[in-house]
Amino acid sequence: MNIKLKIWRQPNAKSKGRFETYPLNDVSSEMSFLEMLDYLNNSLIKDGKEPVAFEHDCREGICGSCGMYISGRPHGPQHRTTTCELRMREFKDGQTITIEPWRAAAFPVIKDLIVDRNAFDKIMQSGGFISINAGAAQDANSILVPKKNADEAFDSASCVGCGACVAACKNSSAMLFISAKVTHLAQFPQGRIEAEIRVKNMVAKMDELGFGGCTNTRACEAECPKGISISNIAKLNREFFVAKLKD
């Protein structure tokens, strides 16, 4: 099939970016979306032009590196799919596809479609852990955890840190990301010990780093490729409320 790509080009953080349009012919419907971009880059290089920079690594939906708006939607049109898992059979012959980097104050553009998501790491550093050193743990089965909690912890912990939730939110809130971590760790007895301080610190860090607040639009849940549920946010709010009451 033949398609038209409208892609955001921006040489670096300091320069201003703009859209460039590239027609691309003979795209196979079996290609993955990123293979289509490989194909585009190959032809750009052949024409002596600069290839489009985009982030990727595992190409199987687990590392969270990839991520871009595809025709206005984070990770493109397919539900619960990362950009790298998306296939060209989701698009039509003759279609124009617009591709942009995440737009959020806390995620500045580095080049073309690549943004800096270091703010997520900083949030994690503010409390996204259980404080235990190597060597201090007891036998794993000495902590019994109901299957229900373990399964819930798993679901929350399947967040890959891609940032689509922030990109989808009109406030650029990182609430889904944070709530997934808070809920994950709160399912375990040893995780509860720091639950209150964790939630307070992570929320404070989020505010400090320029993410917006949550106004319950649910856009994050709709676009999260890993199906992280908004019920995590409700749980976070409860934790946060209880923690604040004790202040």
Binding site: Y39, I45, C63
Partner: protein
């Protein structure tokens, strides 16, 4: 005298590590903060090393080319992580885990190292559980286990099909805690491009800042490589696309011996090549073989749809050839059997290069719901890529390059032949012999970093406490930086006609055809010629777009491909030298009458450690003889 001293401690096998630990020197807490350690890599090997060294009080600097530690390739591991807990009461033990690994590796690993890996495995599970890794659990709240890849006990801990992601998120959280405390400094988006040696010791690295292109100097009292494997040498593999060999290769060129480079595991169950643009081969976890049955049509070139082929016209070739283990034979055996059937014309799919993995009978027996619950996310992944549901139509699978048992040679202390340079995780060669058993890599990477390296590196550093902070304005750093800058300039100046990716693809094909699942002397010799020709062409005709002083992904690729050429030659040289078949290394000249791998213990019971001798020079082989005191060598038999 051999230059290799493996430093294996004396004493009975089960006491070696305990006794050795007691003999290792300590560093007092006040001195630890004055000692700098560089860790390269943030996978399970790197994250575990860096966080633990930080917890101990060292001043740690950790590097990765990804933007966040959490994205290291370990994240992609699916199936599980082993430990000898015996939670299932199926008579598992440290000894059995040790024995399974040693036998699975076809007796080409050190007894002492493998035993220790099994010994610390239980601590690893305890630690991950404490960190909040959500391992699968039973209704009573205890942790569940499953059996995995060619063993007869259930010792694999898992978190659905995301064990790597869940463990790495745990390891990453411990690392972030140290970063917040200031014991560890994280340098993301940095690529190590050279190792700096001062007075014979590893003292620093040269990196390229992947955002600005700046070439930087970093010094330390010791350097730890945790840079993963080199399976991407085949271009298409199950690894993340950016995985590469450059860090270990640069260390090799600076004097670290490279051990058993040709030991590469080809995984039997990956989604096959479906089109010519494909950039990677997605792994389908081996756990699928617990319920899936592997087959091809009995008739060559049968083009009927799989569900139209009646039972008696199907050849369940693994069950036929290996009645005792059936579909659960080790990876190398399953891979070669698939290749054999396809080469003989029985393969399926448009290319004829795939076999079926069929869940029909398991669904009949256990019900759709159970099968979906166990494998749902893998089935989704498969369906997204192929457009077919494994619940309706058998999956199509084919082997793919997956794991490299070879790596930097290390002694029992995980130190390479360069004093002060350590290697952990997949980047070293130490625990998996000629073939790795499923779920034992996550275990080894984590064991190395949490419970082995912190003790052994302390012993090394104990004699360095008087050494002040290492300066970076020395002639050694000057020279290394100059070399790196010039290489970058050279790559950008060629301005030929073909992209680095195109060269990578072509190199990968040579390696897959001649140094893949099956090897022979003629093919390997031919490969050496072809690689050299392609490498010469690369240096005349590669086109690297963009500039040095900016984010430049083409330049990154070119640098990695350049090193792959050199490593590829060493792979073939090693494969040529090892005239026996063992584990994943199958030399056609050395097989039994029934076509199984035939080891030659009299002549090849050694680790082949290669020394770099300079550009264009033949590498020198050093042999570390393997002694087996506690197990009797046997033929691996899965019939």
């Amino acid at each position: 005298m051999s230059k290799l001293n493996s430093k294996i401690p004396d004493g009975p096998l089960a006491d070696k590590w305990t006794n050795h630990k007691a003999s290792l020197k300590l560093v007092n807490p006040a001195n630890k903060g004055k000692l700098d350690i560089i860790v390269i890599g943030t996978g399970l090997g790197g994250s575990s090393s860096a966080s633990t060294l930080g917890e101990l009080g060292y001043n740690v600097k950790v590097f990765s080319y990804q933007d966040s530690p959490r994205r290291a390739h370990s994240v992609a591991a699916q199936g599980g992580i082993n430990a000898a807990k015996n939670y299932k009461n199926d008579n598992d033990s440290i000894y059995r885990l040790f024995y399974d690994m040693l036998k699975g590796g076809d007796f080409r690993a050190r007894e002492a190292n493998v035993y220790r890996a099994a010994e610390v495995s239980n601590l690893v599970i305890d630690h991950y559980t404490a960190l909040g890794v959500p391992f699968a659990r039973d209704y009573g709240g205890t942790i569940d286990n499953r059996s995995f890849g060619g063993v007869q006990v259930s010792r694999t801990f898992y978190a659905k099909g995301q064990t790597g992601q869940q463990c790495l998120v745990g390891a990453y959280s411990a690392l972030t805690r140290q970063i917040a405390k200031g014991t560890v400094t994280m340098y993301p988006r940095r690529e190590m491009l050279d190792l700096v040696i001062i007075d014979g010791k590893a003292r620093g690295i040269i990196t390229r800042n992947l955002v600005t292109g700046e070439i930087e100097r970093h010094s330390a009292h010791a350097v730890v490589l945790a840079t993963g494997g080199y399976g991407t040498i085949y271009y298409m593999s199950t690894l993340a696309l950016n995985s590469n060999a450059s860090a270990t290769w640069k260390a090799h060129k600076k004097g670290a011996f490279f051990a058993n480079p040709s030991f590469v595991q080809i995984h039997p169950t990956s989604i096959p090549v479906l089109n010519s643009y494909q950039s990677k081969l997605t792994l389908m976890s081996e756990s699928l073989r617990n319920d899936g049955r592997v087959w091809v049509p009995k008739k060559q070139g049968d083009t009927r749809k799989p569900n139209d082929i009646p039972e008696d016209e199907r050849d369940y070739y693994l069950e036929r050839r290996y009645p005792a283990f059936g579909n659960l034979v080790p990876r190398d055996v399953a891979s070669r059997a698939a290749k054999e059937r396809c080469d003989a014309g029985f393969g399926v799919g448009s290319t004829g290069l795939s076999v079926y993995l069929d869940f029909r009978d398991a669904i009949k027996k256990k019900g759709k719901k159970v099968i979906e619950e166990n494998y749902g996310n893998l089935f989704d992944m498969y369906e997204k890529i192929s457009g077919e549901s494994p619940l309706e139509t058998p999956m199509r699978i084919y082997p793919a390059g997956h794991y490299t048992m070879g790596g930097l040679w290390v002694d029992y202390n995980l130190m390479t032949t360069i004093p002060g340079l350590f290697a952990v995780g997949e980047s070293n060669f130490s625990d998996h012999g000629a073939n790795r058993l499923g779920a034992s890599s996550l275990m080894q990477c984590s064991g190395d970093g949490y419970f082995i390296l912190p003790y052994t590196i302390t012993d090394y550093l104990a004699s360095d406490i008087k050494t002040p902070r290492i300066k970076t304005d020395t002639p050694e750093f000057d020279a290394a930086e100059k070399e790196v800058s010039e290489r970058v300039k050279k790559l950008l100046s060629i301005n030929g006609n073909e992209t680095p990716t195109s060269y990578h693809r072509r190199l990968g094909k040579i390696m897959w055809d001649y140094c893949g699942m099956v090897r022979n002397e003629e093919g390997l010799k031919k490969a050496l010629v072809l690689i050299k020709e392609l490498e010469d062409e690369f240096w005349k005709n590669v086109k690297v777009a963009g500039k040095a002083e900016e984010l430049n992904q083409e330049l990154e690729k070119a640098g990695r491909v350049m090193d792959f050429f050199e490593l590829a030659k060493l792979l073939c040289t090693d494969a040529l030298n090892r005239k026996e078949s063992c584990g994943a290394h199958f030399r056609e000249e050395s097989q039994t009458e029934t076509g199984e791998a035939k080891r030659d213990d009299d002549n090849f019971s050694y680790v082949a450690a290669w020394e770099y001798k300079g550009q264009g020079q033949e590498p020198e082989l050093h042999k570390e003889e393997l002694k087996f005191e506690y197990v009797k060598l046997q033929e691996r038999n899965y019939k």
